[in-house]
């Protein structure tokens, strides 16, 4: 792939976004994108670079969620590898949940 080919890059990122939306948080039942765990997703050549975070340092299934995100992205045929970076600052808060996610959780309009 030519790195300058924006349309192909956009298509791959869209597929990656859809793949991440298949990964659900088992406790809350919404996908990791709507939950706000995905900070940024970009392509570096054929490698997907994912900056993500977890809902808390004490998340007992944090390693599992990271592995599921990795596997979902790695399964894309156009991708040669996944580079994942865990961010812990600023800490995750429920403000990061998307409007759709809040609707699913029934927490619209809460503080």
């Amino acid at each position: 792939m030519n790195p300058g080919d924006a349309s192909i890059e956009g298509e791959i990122l869209a597929k990656a976004d859809a793949a991440l939306r298949r990964v659900l948080d088992p406790e809350m039942g919404i996908n990791v994108v709507d939950l706000g765990l995905v900070h940024s997703l970009r392509l570096r050549g054929h490698v997907l670079v994912l900056n993500y975070q977890l809902t808390s340092d004490s998340c007992p299934i944090g390693g599992m969620m990271a592995a599921a995100m990795h596997d979902a992205l790695d399964a894309l045929p156009e991708v040669m590898g996944v580079d994942m970076h865990l961010l812990d600052d600023p800490p995750w808060s429920a403000d990061r949940i998307s409007p759709q996610g809040k609707k699913m959780l029934g927490i619209e309009g809460t503080h």
Binding site: D17, A18, E27, G29, S58, P60, M64, A67, D71
Partner: protein, 438 residues
């Protein structure tokens, strides 16, 4: 990518052992209720039931959970799984020896065996927990201090229990009578070890499960300080030979009652800040447990002001704390953790690759809700039976209590059977979410 560090067979084993202990304790209550009425603190059946509940049900479950969840709370390795397994096995071994000795009651107990049982359990626990406590993150200082205090009181109460078992409570250097030391031993174990352990774990688990914005630090610190001061005052009342109701004893019980109230306020505060507080059986069971805690605290204080409180009333206060608060709080959290454990076992490897149910869908809700009336009925009939000496009520309480543990075992088993993974629907779902939603 590294796969999860959550070793669920370890947790399932702890859960199974602990539910079995709780069940047997309740069967003892139903089978031999007379033992719980007259001079209950000298009855082998009661001692077995009490230690089955405190060390077996509460201790094994909490230590089992801690050895798995603590490393994740810390974000650091606590050592190998083998170490965790060995420590818990030592604790269980010591506990079983102790139960065996109580069952074949002879006073004083064989010193070596009792000492070995007590020391092996507490030492293994501390050895396991110490590296974690040292490295605890700064944002969890309250949790760390509460956990460390809990383990400290476990050592104290185990040591005191060892002295009592060897009949060393009578010599002049340890002047108080056996009943005074028993009172101190019970306070150190139930409030110092078990309650503080539940407090510490709940500070982390409650916000996590309810999407609350953390917890207030100051009520937690006040709770911890009050527990320390209250237990110290009770120790002074015992060793200064102040006749009951003495000022130290009343002060101690008063401080502990305040500590329990502050903890209940903390729970209310966390729940009020929850962004996703599902009014499920777990939440209501925890509220019921906190009510029992406040009731136990107030009862304890009232009894401390009386010249000669009846043994039935004292037993009812202990039951409120042990079965009402500790039992209720732990069962409520089992209902949150068990579906997650089942999900990890069955579906974590398929997450993102297939449609998998979420953890909450694995929970059998009728069984979860059944725990609420079972706990309530067992608690009310048990307290009434202990206070009035009614054999019939105690038998009923034991039956309801045993049913509660069976219910939880069935709930755990059903989590391993419910729900199944399915392939993602065709055609290719790799469609942009915004296009799909439009």
């Amino acid at each position: 990518m590294p796969r999860p560090a959550l070793v669920t067979p370890f947790l399932w084993t702890s859960l199974g052992l602990s539910l079995a202990c709780g069940f047997v304790a309740q069967v003892l209550l139903a089978h031999d209720p007379q033992a719980f009425t007259q001079h209950w603190f000298r009855q082998a059946t009661v001692l077995v039931a009490l230690h089955l509940t405190t060390l077996g049900f509460v201790g094994i479950l909490i230590l089992g959970v801690l050895t798995q969840f603590l490393p994740m709370l810390l974000g650091r390795s606590l050592g190998s799984t083998a170490l965790a397994g060995a420590a818990l096995a030592a604790f269980v071994l010591g506990f079983l020896v102790l139960i065996g000795l109580f069952a074949a009651w002879r006073a004083p107990l064989p010193a070596a065996a009792a000492g070995l049982a007590l020391v092996s359990g507490s030492a293994a626990t501390l050895a396991l927990a110490w590296p974690a406590l040292v490295h605890f993150g700064p944002n969890q200082r309250l949790c760390r201090a509460t956990l460390a205090s809990s383990l400290f009181y476990l050592v104290l109460t185990a040591g005191l229990g060892g002295l009592m078992a060897q009949g060393l409570v009578g010599p002049p250097w340890l002047a108080p009578g056996p009943l005074d030391v028993l009172k101190l031993h019970a306070h150190l174990g139930l409030v110092g070890f078990a309650c503080l352990m539940v407090f510490a774990v709940s500070y982390e688990l409650l916000p996590m499960f309810n999407l609350a914005k953390g917890y207030a630090q100051w009520p937690g610190w006040v709770t911890l300080a009050l527990v320390h001061a209250g237990l110290a005052a009770i120790a002074v009342s015992v060793f200064s030979l102040t006749p009951a109701p003495g000022p130290w004893c009343m002060a101690g019980e008063g401080l502990l009652a305040l500590a329990c109230l502050f903890y209940a306020l903390q729970v209310l505060w966390i729940q009020s800040r929850a962004r996703r507080l599902q009014q499920d059986a777990s939440v209501w069971l925890f509220r019921q447990a906190c009510l029992a805690l406040v009731a136990a605290a107030v009862t304890g204080f009232v009894l401390a002001t009386q010249d000669a409180p009846g043994p039935g009333a004292v037993a009812a206060a202990v039951y409120l704390l042990l079965f009402g608060f500790l039992g209720g709080a732990i069962v409520s959290q089992i209902q949150k953790i068990v579906p997650l454990m089942a999900w990890v076992d069955r579906f974590s490897a398929l997450a993102g690759k297939a449609q998998v149910p979420i953890a909450g869908h694995l929970l059998n809700k009728p069984l979860a809700w059944l725990a609420l009336p079972l706990h309530f009925l067992a608690l009310v009939s048990g307290c009434a039976g202990l206070a009035t000496g009614s054999i019939q009520l105690l038998r009923i309480s034991g039956c309801f209590g045993a049913a509660l543990f069976v219910d939880q075992a069935l709930l755990a088993a059903s989590c391993r059977l419910r729900g199944q993974a399915r392939p993602f629907p065709m055609p290719d779902p790799f469609v942009r979410a915004d296009l799909r939603s439009s």
